[in-house]
């Protein structure tokens, strides 16, 4: 009795778990040390540079509100680019997402090929797409729209094909059994099941496109980023802060609207 009552467990975890955890912790921390030294971003750098951040806030404020007139047209261009790109990307990604879902496309090599293509597309940063298209089509909104379309297709097809893969296949079978052809199967068995998610993802991609189109402008692919780039180069910080505040507001508003719409959908 006495022997049992004096027993106190050493710890909750077995030795092996502790070993693995400590080893991975050492790896993580040492890699952190290497990378923080290499990037000159050790924690004390933050405190050394902190006065600069404070000084910068002085440069950025107050925002130059008279600059707003120049912001609106470019802002609308950004939104237009995102709308057009999202619309076209949605249309294009419908057949592609069907081809990338392994329960609809039962031919293995087509499915594998599409997967591979999709994975490659998703790894290309949007900025490189924009750089290439600006080189091809010249500076302007068109290059940005094309870059956004490809960028958006990568995300949409991935999300959509995953949804299509999880649908209930019984309706498909039922329609096939009663003599429906391939197109009828898709439109009466698959589309009703995935439509809410599809619209939700389209809105989500629209949100992403708004942010992405900001980056694209930095290399001349149209939109508000172009303006931002110009003002940074002129070190016109009050104007920069006006643009940033407007972008912030637009992103918040659009996220909110599309979030509410998506809540209603799914």
């Amino acid at each position: 009795m006495n022997k049992h009552s004096s027993y106190v467990p050493k710890g909750l975890y077995p030795f092996k778990t502790i070993l693995i955890i400590s080893l991975s912790l050492i790896v993580v921390i040492s890699f952190y040390l290497i990378s923080s030294i290499r990037t000159e971003s050790f924690i004390w750098h933050f405190f050394v540079k902190f006065p600069n951040v404070i000084g910068l806030i002085g440069d950025f404020f107050p925002p130059d509100w008279s600059y707003l007139e120049q912001v609106w047209p470019k802002l609308f261009e950004t939104i237009h680019m995102a709308i057009i790109a999202t619309t076209i990307a949605v249309i294009i990604s419908i057949p592609f997402s069907l081809l990338t879902a392994n329960n609809v496309t039962t031919t293995t090599w087509i499915y594998q090929f599409m997967r591979f293509l999709l994975n490659i597309t998703r790894t290309i940063p949007d900025i490189i797409l924009a750089v290439v298209f600006v080189g091809l089509f010249g500076i302007g909104a068109f290059s940005g729209i094309i870059a956004l379309i490809i960028f958006a297709i990568g995300i949409l097809v991935k999300l959509m094909s995953e949804v299509i893969e999880t649908i209930d296949m019984n309706p498909t079978e039922a329609i096939r059994a009663s003599g429906g052809n391939g197109l009828q199967t898709i439109s009466f068995a698959i589309v009703p099941q995935v439509l809410p998610q599809f619209i939700s993802f389209s809105l989500y991609v629209f949100e992403i496109n708004i942010r992405a189109s900001l980056v694209l402008g930095l290399v001349g692919a149209g939109g508000i980023g172009q303006l931002l780039n110009k003002e940074i180069n002129f070190m016109n910080y009050p104007a920069v802060s006006t643009i940033i505040i407007i972008v912030f507001a637009v992103v918040v508003v659009i996220d909110y609207i599309s979030g509410k719409l998506r809540e209603g959908l799914v």
């Binding site: 000159e40 000084g55 900025i127």
Partner: protein, 268 residues
């Protein structure tokens, strides 16, 4: 009796729904009209001989990557990974207290929850490139600016995901610990952490994947990493180098995605 044609009952129609649909439809049509009437695309310059010449000139060069630049490009790519790693690790740590602040089962104070949510929401609304611009202006054009941008940008998303994880934990365990007299620290380490840690790590690694992609872009505004090279190559119209950079990014990102996918599968 059997001659009577079979009729299905009519679908119930609600007026309100119809009106709603019409309003939505009109709104969408108006948005599209507004978009297409305002967008300025110079079609004549896009469908011109020059574009064809460009395609002829650029595309072949693009597919002949400049392999002789591999060394310097790899070096910058490693710097990019370091930026992403330092940034996401910092974010993974900063996000924890913010997530606890947001989780309604940890901090039973609606006001504090909302403050936490507001902070995270505000941070998320800033695109990373904008953060990078701000930090480049603050600390100068070096990788440190990129690290700060990645760290702050990732905190928003990680904090939100973490707080959702914390809110979904099994509270019975904590009650049991409380009942047997554990103090706050013990509850944290033996009740909460074991439940949330695997998912925290999984999300942090996932965010690292995203950050590698994000930090490859930040160099465009001078925040270090491979983006710097993209700018130079693009300014010099050096398409072979752009092709090579793209190749390196694709391969690196794919490898990192595979590794992190493997680790995450083991974790959860």
């Amino acid at each position: 009796m059997s001659n009577q044609p079979l009729t299905l009952p009519k679908k119930p129609k609600s007026k309100l729904k119809l009106v709603k649909r019409v309003i939505v439809l009109i709104a969408i049509v108006l948005i599209y009209i507004w978009t297409f009437s305002n967008i300025s695309i110079r079609w004549e310059s896009i469908f011109s001989v020059r574009t064809l010449e460009n395609i002829d000139r650029i595309i072949p060069r693009f597919f002949q990557p400049a392999f002789e630049e591999t060394g310097s490009i790899m070096e910058m790519m490693i710097e990019t990974i370091f930026i992403a790693y330092t940034g996401s690790l910092a974010a993974a740590v900063i996000a924890v207290p913010l997530a606890f602040l947001c989780a309604s089962n940890m901090v039973r104070n609606k006001f504090l929850n909302n403050i936490g949510m507001w902070i995270l929401g505000a941070v998320r609304a800033f695109p990373e490139i904008v953060l990078a611009i701000i930090f480049v202006a603050a600390v100068g054009p070096n990788p440190f600016a990129g690290v700060l941008a990645i760290a702050i940008g990732s905190t928003g998303m990680l904090g939100k995901l973490y707080s959702e994880v914390i809110e979904s934990i099994d509270m019975n365990v904590i009650e049991t610990l409380e009942a047997s007299g554990a103090n706050k620290m013990q509850i944290l380490f033996y009740g909460i952490m074991p439940q949330v840690l695997p998912e925290f790590l999984s999300y942090a690694i996932y965010r690292f994947e995203i950050d590698v992609r994000a930090s490859s872009v930040l160099g465009i505004v001078g925040a270090g990493g491979i983006g710097t090279l993209i700018t130079f190559a693009y300014m010099n119209r050096n398409w072979e180098e752009v092709g090579m950079i793209l190749l390196v990014i694709i391969i690196t990102v794919t490898i990192i995605d595979q590794i992190s996918g493997f680790i995450r599968k083991r974790l959860v």
